[in-house]
Subunit: 428 residues, 2 copies
């Protein structure tokens, strides 16, 4: 491996994000060329109640959502990750960030108004209109050219306020908006301030908002260099204790301890620990592109298997129709006999039961169509899908950066010299 | 204050345990001379369903119970506290301690069989016979002369085994025995091994056993010098997370991190932290004698107020009885009118409602006695009790080592040079 800070290493990192981007692009091609036509032909969207996939679902970068009480250092953390200021950035000791800020990679440096963001066809933020104009005026894109943002999209949020203030002051439903982003996120980073931790209130608010997404949550106990080691143990313990009480998951929540900004540590007491923690966190971030690519592949594979099964079913029903008379009667008979129809198709084509549509609702949908108008089985379609599953997908998988290389490589990018203008050292 | 290790300091510490012992002795005197005669006269034991106090309730030292999985270092911790080996001590890497061991201060060094321990009139271990002869053969006293044991009684226990083994192997009900000791204990120390922590199982067993005594529990994460700092944070976090899930109390459990035996630390990484933790733990132990003395005083005060109230009630009932005829009728009338009787006594003597007996069961008890046989009010008794409350008790309180001095002073004893044969330093 290249030694620390060498140019090769950095090139390797960019190559990783390029390679995952290439995989995503190829997936999109496959979908458009081989899957979408079959879906269209056999009305997948109607029968499986699942809309056709749009470009953005392939192109979207993994999203990292930052959540926490005000002033815990969310915005500073992002600045630190990027290694530079970003358009619209505001950092300060009072509640500062007053809008949801989406950090995107792009050639020119600029902010993008919430309105524009929520209608942009290439970005996964459609649906945010539903939270109203008050909210859209508190939504902003921040575009800049950044190697980190080539891999992930970061979402900064206004600090959580305690209890009542939360609900009354904002003019939109903060909790629902965070829940919307949490749903889309690949990773949720929940920040706490070791220096002034009011756990009960703080945590309840945050965990309420993130309910159901516990598996995506990682915690940061920030500003940990501001207190002595014994205090840190107390605070850290108190946080874990409360997390244990609040979170429903059985696995221990991962809490990264450190000081995640560009300034030197206030004391070197825990410098070695903090460095290890930061390294681990960076790994967690670095695996996201690969993880998200793997997830996209898996979802497409599942979808293709269902599409194939649907093609067989529809083709079979079509083939059973008489040429001249008794069409209506035959259709009703087939619908009544659907369990047997499914069984025989499953056997004949060696399919999996899990890939079949739910039989009740499928039968209901069949009532709405005329079987003689259905498309006949087209072996070409099936052959193409088969080939995608057996050749193209495995090949794509092998093109992904390997699981073992990627964290290290990408971590190097995340903490490459360009991103760390001031090397960490003892302050004061 | 005397400087570290000076003889004065040590003398001061012994003085503290002497002073609390003196306070306990004086309490016992007061009880015997002024309280017990009144209790006897007005049948306190019968009316309040509370037996007369015995000497052991005044003399008993605060008890510290050690609980934990086998091999976590319970026995080694005791050895470390005492600064020396004790009779019957067994330390080893497999499940070693096979009996409940009560460590007592005494002039000669010897073990005391469980049978003898459980019938000893001066020791608070009566009641242990109920767990059967199998158990008594697994109970042992260990007597030695020790400044630590002048302040507290330590109870070592066999290691908790996982699940099934627990129930089947012992020949007595381990859980119930631990619960018995936990009930009597002033402090319960729950030990964990940082080096091999299998939390789920381990904790469930321990917490099940200690249910209802959460407020007395302190935890030790022992052998913490055997792992590196990041691992330690993980283990410590995982422990707090699980404690949060398992314990019902809202306050964070206190977990002392360190290596609590006489050997040098394996690495000096956390030496400063461990030392602070140990100091805090020693403070927790050092305040026990004072805490227990204060508790004894408070309990006696509560009791005296009740005794006084009872004397007034009984005296009043007696005074209402006719000299010649109609006694039975008058008694029934008084019992029926008990609420008004209570009210008028409360007013007349300026008593507190909380010091009155529960009215229903008191009325039932009155049915069992003959009012004409009750004792009349004796103002001398009341005056004595009054004087105890207003003069003697406040004076006793002032004789207790002050809250601010005592932890430091006593801690010094707990960690005085004589108790630390080998000074801690980096090993290997
Ligand atoms: N690691 C750190 N150590 C010490 N101070 C920090 C650290 N990170 C940020 N700060 C300081 O804390 C304050 C709040 O920082 P920042 O604005 O980034 O927090 P925030 O979580 O984004 O707050 P808000 O929710 O109000 O937007 C600022 O004064 C910043 O300089
Ligand atoms: N602080 C420590 N650091 C490292 N090793 C320790 C420490 N304390 C004890 N040990 C070792 O751990 C082993 C178990 O110790 P010990 O017998 O005191 O545990 P225990 O909890 O009393 O076990 P049991 O429940 O079986 O009686 C012994 O080999 C002992 O030397
Ligand atoms: Mg901010
Ligand atoms: Mg032992």
């Amino acid at each position: 491996m290249a030694s620390s800070g060498s140019p090769e290493k950095h090139a390797g990192a960019n190559e990783v994000s390029d390679r995952t981007a290439q995989v995503a692009a190829r997936l999109k091609q496959i979908y458009k060329k081989y899957v979408y036509p079959v879906e269209k032909k056999y009305q997948y969207d109607f029968f499986f109640e699942s809309p056709f996939l749009s470009d953005v679902e392939f192109d979207a970068k993994p999203q990292v959502l930052l959540v926490g009480q005000y002033s815990v250092g969310k915005t500073s953390f992002i600045r630190y990750l990027l290694g530079r200021d970003f358009p619209g950035q505001r950092i300060g000791p009072e509640p500062t960030t007053d809008r949801f800020t989406v950090l995107l990679n792009g050639p020119e440096e600029r902010t993008i108004p919430g309105n524009a963001l929520s209608v942009h066809p290439d970005l996964p933020f459609k649906g945010l209109e539903r939270f109203g104009v008050n909210f859209l005026s508190r939504l902003e894109g921040s575009q800049l050219s950044s190697s980190v943002l080539r891999s992930v999209t970061l979402v900064d949020t206004p600090g959580i306020l305690s209890g009542e203030k939360q609900r009354t002051n904002r003019g939109y439903d903060f909790t629902k908006v965070v829940a919307w982003f949490a749903e889309k996120a690949d990773l949720i980073i929940l920040l706490f301030d070791a220096h002034k931790l009011d756990i009960s209130d703080e945590l309840k608010g945050a965990i309420d908002v993130l309910k159901g997404h516990e598996d995506k949550i990682r915690c940061i106990l920030n500003k940990a260099d501001q207190i002595d080691r014994q205090q840190l143990m107390r605070v850290y313990g108190a946080l874990l204790w409360s997390l244990g009480k609040t979170m429903s998951s059985p696995e221990v929540a991962r809490v990264y301890v450190g000081s995640f900004w560009q300034e030197p540590l206030k004391s070197m007491d825990n410098a070695a620990l903090f460095e290890m923690e930061e390294r681990d966190l960076m790994k967690d971030l670095a695996v996201l592109p690969r993880q998200s690519a793997v997830r996209k592949i898996n979802e497409l594979v599942k979808r293709i298997r269902k599409v194939k099964t649907l093609a067989y079913i529809i083709g079979h029903l079509k083939s059973q129709m008489p040429t001249l008379m008794g069409k209506e009667k035959k259709q009703q008979k087939l619908i009544q006999d659907l369990p047997n129809v499914f069984r025989s198709i499953l056997k004949k084509y060696n399919l999996a039961a899990g890939d079949f549509p739910e039989i009740q609702s499928f039968a209901a949908k069949l009532q709405e169509v005329k079987f003689q108008e259905l498309a006949p089985l087209n072996q070409k379609y099936i052959d193409d899908l088969e080939r995608v599953l057996t050749d193209e997908i495995p090949q794509l998988m092998s093109q992904l950066p390997s699981e073992r290389d990627s964290p290290e490589t990408l971590r190097n990018k995340m903490t490459s010299p360009e991103n760390m203008p001031i090397p960490k050292a003892a302050g004061k």
